[in-house]
């Protein structure tokens, strides 16, 4: 198992006071709370932080941890010295067995049976914990539905009462019409306990798409058009996640104009809309004919794009 540097996780020196530890925890907990933070690894950081604080906030546990010495490096292979728990008793922890099950093997090797599991054995949770995980899907999956394989690292209390990690793979049906931030509940796939298993909640996030942006059930696309298409009107081909469609550009369209394709957003009751935002792209004036055409356009009418600026 890997050594965990609890001081580094909390951004503290080994001489930090208990007050400093508490302050650092509060601050980092707000920063990495998975409901608040948008950092990709927030969930893992928050768990790690909870484990570090569990040890450092409690002077006897902290003393036991400090006894390992400061020569260990984070991630280094760690083997606990034999009988190291002798002389320590950990009854002061106020975490439940369910919390302890979230902690690392490293934590368990130091405090596991005394601090976590023993309490759990006295007060077994009536049923397994509800757990949550993020599933990242493509926009296309929301349009058509898909099956995604998910690998989850679960920490559970083993038969010997120590937390142990195992990986399990689930094949999950992603329903058509799912939107970012929604939850899919998988009954009975959560944590295991003495009673019925808990549920697993999958929070859906979308992988960024090179063409489309998603806002709720609506989808946005930037659509480049030539100046004459915008000025005179045109019918252009437009990609959508459901396949290309023809779109009429009304004459006199300006750059930034949003054209709505009703019902072409994410499917559902009601379906979302697809918005094409026009972006007028100028042909480069890199040959004589084009330069002449621009000059001719200049002569065609008195046009001042800055008239409203009053200069």
């Amino acid at each position: 198992m890997e050594y965990r540097d609890y001081y580094r996780i909390m951004g503290l020196g080994r001489d930090a006071t208990q007050d400093e530890i508490k302050r650092a925890y509060r601050k980092l907990a707000r920063k990495f709370h998975p409901d608040v933070s948008k950092e990709a690894d927030a969930e893992a950081r928050f768990k790690e932080l909870g484990e570090a604080y569990e040890v450092l906030k409690d002077p006897p546990k902290r003393a036991a941890y400090d006894q390992l010495g400061s020569t260990w490096k984070a991630g280094e292979e760690f083997r606990p010295p034999p009988d190291r728990n002798q002389g320590f008793e950990f009854h002061s922890g106020d975490f439940s067995a369910a919390d302890a099950a979230q902690f690392s093997d490293f934590f368990a090797s130091l405090f596991g049976q005394d601090a976590g599991a023993a309490r759990g054995a006295r007060r077994p949770p009536p049923q397994g914990q509800d757990t949550r995980a993020r599933v990242v899907i493509d926009l296309d999956d929301a349009y058509h539905g898909a099956t995604r394989a998910l690998t989850l690292q679960t920490t559970e209390l083993g038969p010997d009462g120590r937390p142990q990690t195992r990986a399990r793979t689930l094949n999950v049906r992603i329903p058509k019409g799912v939107r970012p931030g929604q939850q899919i509940r998988l009954a009975g796939q959560g944590g295991h306990g003495p009673g019925a298993p808990g549920d697993l909640y999958l929070e859906v996030a979308f992988r960024p798409h090179p063409l489309y942006r998603v806002a709720g059930r609506d989808v946005y696309l930037e659509l480049p058009v030539a100046p004459w298409e915008a000025a005179l009107g045109a019918q252009v081909k437009l990609p959508t996640p459901d396949g290309p469609v023809d779109l009429k550009i009304p004459p006199g369209s300006s750059s930034g104009r949003k054209l709505r394709l009703a019902g072409r957003g994410i499917p559902g009751q009601p379906p979302g809309d697809l918005y094409a935002t026009l972006l007028i792209v100028l042909p480069p004036a890199d040959n004589a004919a084009t330069r002449a055409a621009y000059r001719e356009l200049e002569q065609a009418q008195a046009f001042d794009p800055r008239a409203h600026l009053g200069v």
Partner: protein, 104 residues
């Protein structure tokens, strides 16, 4: 340790179309009814229907309740504080969605 790797799990999408009675909602959130009533009184979730036995919750309320409970448990904020955070997160999401339309 995987018993049936090829089985495809069909979850339940907790969207607005999912309608739960108070009993079902309590079971899903693993909360006693009194606590759900408190959450309604705090305005964190808004069921349809007048009296508790006619209340109808949507799937979206499940997330709101779970989020509030996590914030209370993890950050030591009280219920009003958690409700405020939830509202601010909603606003943040709306702004992020608007921002996303402009490409960043």
């Amino acid at each position: 340790m995987d018993k049936s790797p090829h089985q495809v799990l069909q979850g339940e999408l907790l969207d607005e179309a999912v309608v739960l009675t108070l009993t079902q909602f309590c079971r899903t959130c693993r909360l006693p009814a009194e606590q759900v009533v408190e959450l309604v009184e705090e305005g964190i979730i808004e069921p349809l229907g007048q009296a508790p036995d006619a209340w109808q919750f949507t799937g979206v309320s499940v997330y709101r309740v779970q989020c509030v409970l996590r914030l209370e448990h993890d950050l030591g904020v009280n219920r009003a504080g958690a409700a405020l955070i939830l509202d601010l997160l909603d606003q943040l999401d709306a702004l992020r969605a608007r921002l996303a339309r402009y490409g960043e």
